[in-house]
Amino acid sequence: MSALFTQAFLTSLVLGALTAGIPLMLAGLGEQISEKAGVLNIGIEGMMLFGAYLGFLVAYSTGSVWLGFLGGGVGGMMVAAPMALFCIRMGLSQIVIGIALTLGAEGLTALLHHFQFAQSYPRLPAVETLAIPGLSSIPVIGPALFDRPPIVYLAVLAVAVTAYVFRRTQLGLALQAAGDKPAALDAAGVDVVRVRTVAVLTTGFLAGIGGAFMSQVGAGIFVPFMTNGAGFIGIVLAMQARGRPLWVLCGALLFGACLSATTALQVAGVSIPTDIIQMLPFAAVLTVLVLFGRRASLPPALGTHYVRGAR
């Protein structure tokens, strides 16, 4: 057992948790914003995937990592925009449209990839890291946590920003009201449709960057269906976090550690099928639900369309 706790193992575990966890965290954070505003965003898987594709495409054709991430965010918003139009403006079922957008993004990215890269399978160069002086020389966790691509620090910063927005800004109050009692928000003179649209577009932006992180930092390549349920995991994270951004971060790192533990274990010379480890986080969440069985605290207006004057 002692072989498990070598420095190489631990570093690779922490690194893996971070690399796999950041996209999940961005998705979970995005989903949390949508849910807070009363939109159950099932299309987030599609937003991530399209972000992964567009992020890769932009990074590959411009050679700029940053433009790539921007492209990823825009890609996510390109899927979020129809969601906002169909579900928030037109009032169509959020679940049906969410599934449709996910399927559509899966099909479209696979198709585009096939026509563009199927022959060449281009790879991106490894993303440069930014070592934080001092912190990065801490043993074990230093290199894994503080010598990472700058986007990692920005992503973690996004958690703090979101927490700040939720608690300390008018937008935070408006989001809360849109999910709790949209009619009250409307009566206070704030456009519910606009608040929810902003929430969904932000979700798309964050999820898209999460997807771009997977293709640019995680894999260095775009592969069809590469998000592989990360968006759905984001939904699970958001539900469990009950509106608290910090919980999303913790949960995402936990999921990330499980998803990447196989690699770390291989480093340590232990061979366990990936699949068993991948079951762990879901099993853990379900166990929590069964043991504590608390009704998940979801906004009352989640999933309902707001029509002014209708009671």
Binding site: L40, I42, P82, F86, M90, G91, L92, S93, I95, V96, I97, I99, A100, L101, T102, L103, G104, A105, E106, G107, L108, A110, L111, L112, H114, F115, P224, G229, F232, I233, I235, V236, M239, P273, D275, I276, Q278, M279, F282, A283, V285, L286, L289, V290, G293, R294, R295, A296, L298, G303, T304, H305, Y306, V307, A310
Partner: protein, 361 residues
């Protein structure tokens, strides 16, 4: 929820009102999106530099006209119809069972492992019967946790069934790789059920009798949901859970029943797919049928007969698309795009229809 555009909510009224004009309207509303989707998807093809007419022609030829293609299409329909039947039960009862893929896959793995083991000891028909039963049971068992959480704790079933799908897909792989692995092969997969021991083929064709099972299941589900007291109880729970409590219905029990039936049908689909088509399960195999059938059931407005039509259309598209992938270089993923566009067109049609009716009265 009353403000939400409820896709498929007024299908029942249509049956009862029986007015011909209403029927014409419904048919137009079902076919409108189909044509719209075909045209829009054609534009996507055009943008990719593929001749849409040639592509569609090839798909229709290989999925519908060509005898082998048609038989493959009909065989594909079997498990899809079973999944659709399960979704109809769930959606009409207001339960979002999005865990069909996990239920399907686990059942497939268990049946694939069990089948070859039973062959030496039982006659073929009994192996098949046990396989179908076990498949249904495995599916139902895999929905038990979300069902209990929904029925007694009110935990949102979308989340729990999605989680159970992730869990199920990984678990299926664990089973294939560690426990049910065929030692005779290098690729991790289960033992193979030889063709002679599979579900019989219909007449002189290659069409699996899974089609028959699927057709019987979906028609039965349709009749149960529309013509029986049990179906009505489920529909009351789905349409207005508070009215169900007011009327004295045992909502938790009906919720459990809904999950069990829906998941059992998804499990049955897994069994039919294995014993009718695949014969074994390879590691990492996951056709993800359930998530693609969800839109079809919506298009059919939870109507069993209309679902048969849409499942047929989808099967033509996917079988034809698989052939077309080899010939025209358009990968089969295109089918996903068509389904997505179809769904969105459906939503828009619904929205326009609602506005038209609101304006007309």
């Amino acid at each position: 929820m009353s403000e939400t555009t409820q896709i498929g909510s007024d299908a029942l009224l249509a049956r009862r009102s029986g007015a011909r004009r209403e029927r014409v309207r419904l048919i137009a509303m079902a076919l409108g999106p189909v044509f719209g989707a075909i045209v829009l998807s054609g534009l996507v093809l055009l943008a990719l530099g593929v001749d849409p007419i040639a592509y569609y022609g090839y798909v229709v030829d290989r999925g519908l006209i060509n005898p082998y293609g048609l038989q493959a299409t009909l065989t594909r329909m079997g498990p899809l119809l079973l999944i659709a039947a399960g979704l109809i039960v769930a959606f009409r009862a207001g339960i979002w069972n999005l865990g069909g893929d996990g239920q399907f896959l686990l059942s497939a793995v268990v049946v694939a492992a069990l089948g070859p083991l039973m062959v030496p000891y039982f006659p073929v028909w009994m192996v098949l019967l046990i396989g179908l039963l076990v498949g249904a049971m495995v599916g139902a068992v895999w929905s038990l946790l979300p069902a209990l959480l929904k029925a007694y704790q009110g935990v949102n079933e979308i989340i729990t069934t999605l989680m159970m799908t992730f869990l199920g897909v990984s678990f299926a792989n664990v089973l294939v790789k560690l426990f049910f692995r065929d030692p005779a092969t290098t690729v991790p997969q289960t033992r193979t059920l030889v063709v002679a021991d599979r579900l019989p083929r219909l007449f002189d064709t290659t069409v699996s009798s899974g089609l028959l099972i699927g057709l019987i299941a979906i028609v039965a589900v349709h009749l149960v949901m529309t013509r029986t007291a049990f179906g009505l109880k489920l529909r009351i729970v789905g349409a207005n859970p508070r009215a169900a409590i007011h009327a004295g219905l045992n909502v938790p029990l009906l919720t459990l029943a809904t999950f069990a039936i829906s998941a059992a049908l998804a499990g049955l689909a897994g069994a039919v797919e294995i014993m009718g088509v695949q014969g074994n399960v390879r590691a990492d195999w996951n056709p993800a049928y359930s998530l693609t059938v969800v839109p079809l059931v919506f298009l059919a407005r939870f109507n069993g007969f209309a679902s048969i039509a849409f499942v047929f259309l989808f099967s033509v598209l996917s079988i034809g698309g698989e052939s077309a992938a080899r010939r025209t270089g358009v990968p089969n993923f295109f089918t996903l795009v068509v389904v997505a566009i179809l769904l969105i067109m459906l939503g828009i049609t619904e929205y326009l229809d609602q506005r038209r009716r609101a304006a007309g009265k």
